[in-house]
């Protein structure tokens, strides 16, 4: 792996890869999830948090976390992506940890971060300051959350409040999506009484820009992990499948397509790693690029993997379609790539047509 990872990162990757691929079990893990009708596996989340200490990988060691940087999360998300394990790390271990770590008062911070690190509680973040409406559409992992952080604009300062799940008036409607391995829900807090919101802290808009960047990087890392798994499956399958007296991996059409997949994956990987280690002034742009590029790359690679698998690739019994569906769902999270590129162009030209 090498640059930019430390030996800590390498160790996490190794442990997690074993743990998650064991759970994944050639697709049986995700299959059990959608067969169960639930959106994730509580047991895996507990072990992930407690045994491996991964839920709090980015939480300060003072609060029982791993004390690692964005790169640590990149490693975790890559491995989650490679196993389609949709435990709510993206949300709880990501933006929720960052918001609490950076703006919550000490008592709240201590309690919540310690519980998160132990896998006792899970939360999501709804960026309420971006809209007038008091709701959030297609929010990932909301159906398994214990609490919800909501940002809201108040006199040009953004305030973050916390709502416990179960608060009267709070509605969380989960929906089935094209990706059967991760849940989406609509969260509506318009009917919650004012006194039920617990104020956590305040921050400026730039802070939330960074929160969004972090989530973009995590999503992009998940895509890289998923795409790599698709390529691995394809290399394995094409080396064993014999047609016309040869393993199909020996056909140039297959080789070149795999080479193109590799190019996409490695460039996406570069974009993700670069965004994770970017300095503050380059964070927003590099995260946007990583997210737009990696989500597109995953979609392309997953589609190509199906094509190179031939018939078995599009069957339900073979897990490839789950990666393809995840890739389509990721492609539309936090906006489509074409919208990202539109933003990027606005920055390049310094205007907005």
């Amino acid at each position: 792996m090498a640059y930019p990872f430390s030996s800590d990162h390498e160790m996490i990757r190794e442990v997690l890869s074993d743990f998650l691929q064991n759970w994944y079990e050639n697709g049986k893990g995700p299959e059990r999830i959608y067969q169960s009708g639930k959106s994730f596996d509580e047991n895996i989340w507990s072990r992930f948090a407690e045994d491996l200490g991964m839920a709090g990988v980015a939480i300060s060691e003072d609060f029982g976390g791993g004390g690692l940087d964005d790169l640590g999360r990149v490693v975790v998300m890559e491995e989650l992506g490679a196993s389609l394990c949709a435990i709510p790390f993206l949300t709880t271990g990501g933006e929720v940890v960052d918001i609490i770590s950076k703006i919550a008062k000490n008592q709240f911070k201590e309690e919540y971060l310690q519980k998160i690190a132990k896998g006792k509680i899970k939360g999501i973040f709804c960026p309420g300051h971006l809209s007038e409406e008091k709701k959030c559409i297609n929010s990932a992992n909301a159906d398994t959350a214990d609490f919800i952080l909501i940002s809201r604009l108040k006199n040009k300062i953004i305030e973050v409040v916390c709502l416990k799940v179960g608060t009267p008036g709070l509605e969380i409607n989960s929906k089935k999506t094209i990706d059967p391995t991760r849940s989406f829900s609509d969260v509506d807090w318009s009917q919650v009484s004012d006194r039920d919101f617990l104020p956590i802290g305040t921050a400026e808009i730039n802070f939330f820009t960074d929160i969004i960047s972090q989530s973009q990087i995590s999503l992009a890392a998940e895509c890289v992990g998923g795409a790599q798994k698709c390529l691995d499956m394809t290399l394995e399958y094409t080396s064993q499948r014999v047609q016309f007296g040869r393993p199909i991996a020996s056909f140039q059409a297959i080789k070149h397509r795999c080479a193109d997949m590799f190019i996409l994956i490695e460039t996406a990987r570069s974009a993700v790693y670069a965004a994770a280690v970017a300095t503050k002034d380059k964070k927003t742009e590099s995260s946007l690029i990583a997210k737009a590029y990696a989500t597109e790359a995953f979609f392309k690679v997953a589609g190509d993997a199906i094509q190179l698998h031939g018939g078995i690739g599009f069957t339900w019994e073979y897990p490839l379609h789950l990666f393809f569906k995840r890739s389509r769902a990721n492609r539309s999270m936090f906006g489509m790539p074409s919208e990202d590129y539109k933003l990027l162009a606005d920055n390049i030209f310094g205007d907005k047509p």
């Binding site: 089935k176 999506t177 007296g245 018939g311 599009f314």
Partner: protein
Amino acid sequence: MSDLRNKFSKWMENNFCGEYECLRGRATPGDEDAFPGLRLKWEREMGAAGWIGIGWPTEFGGKGATLDEIVGFNEEYASHGGPGRAGHIGETLLAPTIIAFGTDQQKARYLPGIKAGKEFWCQGYSEPNAGSDLSNIKTKASLENNQWVINGQKIWTSLAMDSDYIFVVARAAEGSKGRQGLVFLLVKLDQPGIEIRPIKQMSGTAEFNEVFFDGAVCSNEDIIGGVGDGWKIAMALLGFERGASTLGQQMTFADEFRQIVDLAKANGSAKNPLIRQRIAKSYAGLKIMRFTALRTLEAAEKGDTTKEGYISKIFWSSWHRELGELAMDVMGKEAEILKNGEYNKLQKLFLFSRSDTIYGGTNQIQRNIIAERALGMPKEPRGGGTVMKG
């Protein structure tokens, strides 16, 4: 409008209604398991009115319709929203093969059932280890007491659950290889030696099946051609696929395209210049697909074989796969959401169309065929590379 087309249009108007309403625009690829019973009833309706096999010679009960008439017929069928044709394999593939190569006895036995919409056929070509390599067939047929006994497995057989018969390419001569020693058998599905298992696809539906043969039988009178003719007959049958039926499929595509345009208008995607470019290109592709099919068909009617026919499969399947991606992007924020927990029509289109570029010869195989047959480039060597596992 031709007389025949006119008549058929009126017939559709009067008959494709009532209980059949729910079939409107259904049972197209990706949706072939919709309303199985009713679809077969509808086929009988078509058959009784004489609308099956209109292109067959009159001596076999056809109308000897011209190409223009067949094109018109298909367009009318689609424009009235007629469902995917459960009988098309029998009507457009097997029947012309029997007419060309079958015995009088086979013609008398099988054509009427197809024409009446009462007997349905499916195709037993692909095998798990043969895939796109038809000459690598392993299913065996051995002649015992004037009966062929069949053992082996076929896969990617569409419509098997709705069918009465299957035509099977099997290896008759022990130890034969490649194109030699194959036999083309007509086999009844409802017998102890046959088991059908549906294959669930990523779209959640199951159009394709595995068909297992464990001592299944057919009479020695039920082979087309002789032992060793199997390859020739199988290829000839595929040749009939380049028929007017592709125009019917295009009408289905046009219907899907129109739905996407309507949705784009309704949800505002139509304002997005990137979507507009893709819609326009998709439309151009749809038109060009039609132009190309007509060019091939009209040349064939003149008795010319033209090379552009080789591009049909890869062009329509790639176009359709892109249409699926476009459909999702037009849907926008709703694209991921399953209303009522089920894939809607466009989501199914998106998912099912991934198989279009695979079944019936992958795009890779299509490019090989084009390079070697249309362009005369050197053949792919067999063998070579390191075989890591059989």
